[in-house]
Symmetry: C2
């Protein structure tokens, strides 16, 4: 009983032991699955697609922007055909590196170069935990999830609403999402990208929350938001207008085609990557034609379907290959690159972990600058799981530790200690050990390293069960980041006013 109590006490005490909020960089060469000539073939194919087939752009303003830049427009079919020179010249002004800011001035992030940033899951319509199971997304779950995103230091930024609050009206829902993001987070969060109006509201509210002007926000961007295209080769009006509004405000857009091999693209990965590249480059070009030099990010999300059922698959071998090669493509253009942590698993089990690991390593080895959906994604992105959030945070902390520099100083090598202990001895009690043992190694969040007997006596709780304990503890301990009462009132007033405007339309 003593031992059991001690174990339980230890677990309580350790609950909040995390790595600090920190910038991370990858100090080894990226994995190059293709040589330069092979990358050039995909690049050429994508530009051929844009020249020959073109893209349907269902927004008149965007067609006009491209027309002014020299693109050939078929106004009856809304088809825009792009000369390769136009694309390459337009994207040449995308900054290779920029700084993203949070409401907390200490939480600024370098996007680009060899830096990698982790953002939480965005977009799921369902929530899930072990206590209440799977349910439609709602405002209370969304708020709790945002609090956990804030509480977990390893998550650098929010991911664009973790759980859709389907209990709120569609037309004004984005205002409630933004309000919660402003109140519960002081790290960067992502705006909705569907339509200019939602982007506009995000920008206004971020300015209020940080008490800065739109000019100041443009000078120190707080948004790196993700938009999709309508693969294959379509950009609809709301998405196009969202991109334009963001670029005008000096904020960063990550253009991410969802190129599912065998469905929205031909069944080969090479073709899917050519399609992804074509659409992403068009999106990047649009940002620069609107606001030359505005930060932007190359987004990739190429995966494959299960050819037996048509179901999408994630974290597959093909997914990891596509990630590595997407990184090579983005570096070909000298622009920041985004990848994802994804799984098709319906449970927080072994599959969810190994598919996520395949995704994460695909990103890290490819030198992703933004790992989107880095924590909380389950079931092909349909579900935000509270337990998966913790398991992902553990995996991300492990990657962060793996990326730390390796000490080979004489002090670390400690040859005197080796000689002092000598053959057949042990090192537990040496001064060299005692000086270092508390910080020598990564200390896990949810991994259990107890022996079998202790683990069994504490109830044989698996990883998901331990994660369930942890997120509830983290949520109970959550502290809202400081905000002046007047600022909070201003935010609330903005939301009230905008809801009235929208509801009276």
């Amino acid at each position: 009983m003593v031992s059991r109590r001690r174990q339980a006490q230890r677990r309580e005490k350790d609950v909040l032991k995390q790595l600090p909020f920190q910038e991370l960089s990858i100090n080894f060469d990226p994995v190059r699955l293709l040589d330069a000539e092979q990358i050039e073939k995909i690049h050429d194919a994508s530009l051929s697609i844009l020249e020959t087939t073109g893209m349907r752009i269902d927004d008149a303003k965007t067609r006009e922007i491209f027309k002014q830049a020299g693109a050939e427009i078929d106004q009856t079919e809304n088809i825009v055909k792009f000369d390769r020179g136009l694309i390459m010249e337009s994207i040449s002004t995308v900054p290779s590196t920029f700084t993203l800011h949070g409401r907390d001035k200490g939480k600024q992030l370098t996007i680009g170069g060899n830096h990698i940033v982790f953002s939480a899951v965005g977009g799921p319509p369902f929530a899930s935990d072990l206590d209440q199971g799977r349910r439609a997304g709602n405002h209370a779950d969304m708020c709790n999830f945002l609090k956990l995103v804030q509480a977990l230091n390893i998550i650098h930024m929010e991911g664009g609403c973790p759980i859709e609050p389907t209990d709120l009206p569609v037309q004004t829902r984005h205002l409630d999402i933004y309000l919660a993001s402003c109140l519960y987070l002081d790290k960067p969060w992502q705006s909705q990208m569907i339509g200019a109006e939602r982007v506009h509201d995000a920008i206004e509210m971020a300015c209020i929350a940080s008490q800065i002007s739109r000019e100041e926000l443009a000078a120190k961007p707080q948004f790196l938001s993700v938009t999709n295209t309508n693969t294959p080769l379509v950009l609809d009006e709301p998405l196009a207008q969202g991109i334009i509004e963001m670029a005008k405000a000096g904020q960063a857009v990550c253009v991410t085609p969802f190129t599912l091999s065998g469905a929205m693209t031909p069944v080969t990965l090479a073709s899917s990557l050519a399609m992804q590249n074509a659409e992403s480059l068009v999106g990047l070009a649009l940002t620069q034609l609107v606001n030359s030099g505005v930060p932007a990010c190359y987004g990739s999300f190429t995966s494959n379907v299960d050819m037996k059922s048509g179901s999408p698959a994630f974290g597959t071998p093909e997914y990891a290959q596509a990630a590595n090669i997407s990184g090579q493509l983005a570096r070909r253009y000298n622009v920041p690159w985004r990848s994802s942590n994804a799984t098709a698993s319906c449970a927080v089990d072994a599959q969810s972990a190994y598919e996520s690991q395949m995704s994460i390593w695909g990103a890290v080895l490819g030198h992703a600058n933004l790992l989107n959906h880095a924590a909380g994604w389950l079931e092909g992105g349909l579900v935000a799981s509270f337990e998966k959030l913790i398991v992902d945070a553990e995996m991300l902390q492990m990657i962060a530790s793996y990326l730390q520099p390796f000490d080979v100083s004489n002090d670390a090598l400690g040859l005197d200690t080796v000689d002092e202990v000598g053959p057949g001895g042990h090192f537990f009690g040496t001064e060299h050990t005692l000086e270092r043992f508390e910080t020598a190694f990564y200390s896990p969040l949810v991994s259990d390293w107890q022996n079998y007997e202790n683990w069994r006596d504490l109830g044989s709780v698996d990883t998901a069960g331990r994660a369930n304990h942890l997120w509830k503890k983290l949520l109970a301990d959550y502290q809202r980041p400081a905000m002046d009462q007047a600022v909070e009132e201003e935010l609330n007033a903005y939301v009230t006013k905008r809801k009235e405007q929208i509801n009276n339309l």
Copy 2:
């Protein structure tokens, strides 16, 4: 009901769909966490340890071999001190690449270069599955596990007895293990390495099973067996004699110090790697002094302890770093390198998968030539798990698929198909898709890509549960590889004779 039956039928039919037995190679550069100068510091430290502190070698024959080679011997303490020139000259004859043979002539494996080979778990004293739980290792479980190792194509070789048959007498147990290995496998298996006698029996029985002479076995080695050292800096008599006997017989030894940072070595990874390097090089030198040019392998197993409890940890960030750097060290000496797939988890859950993934990626990125314990290891190596075997096989198949060449031919790019379908279309029904869809993507063993509703309606079975179904199906379908009746009788007669000899001693 129709849908449910169809799902069940599909699962039955797909049970045996595996990748073929195949050699694998890694066609991208290894990850280099350290630069050449840092690697040289670890190298220098390890040779300083061997010169200054030396190693205790508790076998007179081995001390004599090293004395003849010029080492300095303190006979009262059994301490051997090695000049660095002696070590470097001795190991210079280790072949950088060699061919390992199985009883099945089609199952030969290249060890070294950019090739990677997967061997099953070896050594656990316990077995575990979801039906019967955790129990002491026994002969029946061992035989079943060996059958599954044979049945899973992705496993290239056996790992040195997957489950210790503790229901058999200790002195003759190795004969029963070898007999089962000869009968149930036609891929390479590993001999026990404790003492000359056990090695001798393995070699005799392999010669009988393949109906070849000892000279033929030496010319076409079938053994790549793993030995530990007694870290720190001790080599006991049985281990030393096992190495000598293997080298004399022309078989490959993989010398693997178990360097647990903070316990058997100082608490820094740099020091653990220096210790590992020192001991592994001594073992490699011994093989070459016995039989110059005999194949051998640099073994690494550096991990860390939980500094709160003293429990060993596996698949940690430090473990992955140590693996990468071990690969750099082995390449410094131009010798094949072995790593492992390890986890401390007590259940086949998310932790077991993400710790294994950290281990596997550490090995693959470091260009391991042998991934030992690649499938079936659980609970720090105390348990061979039937379900983990299947989950690991899935993860290894995924890695094997990730390592396949990537096709960027014009045919794969399929620009005509893209143009034919055009903006807003879909690619399911195109000729380009129909020609390729059956083999386009990796098809999983145990991963479930169904949507939530189907998964729930089939019982919400998690990965471990599905693995339980699969190993039982595989075992039921197992076919023993062909062996002449006379050969089987000769093996049985050898075992009977040797048991009599040992029992009458």
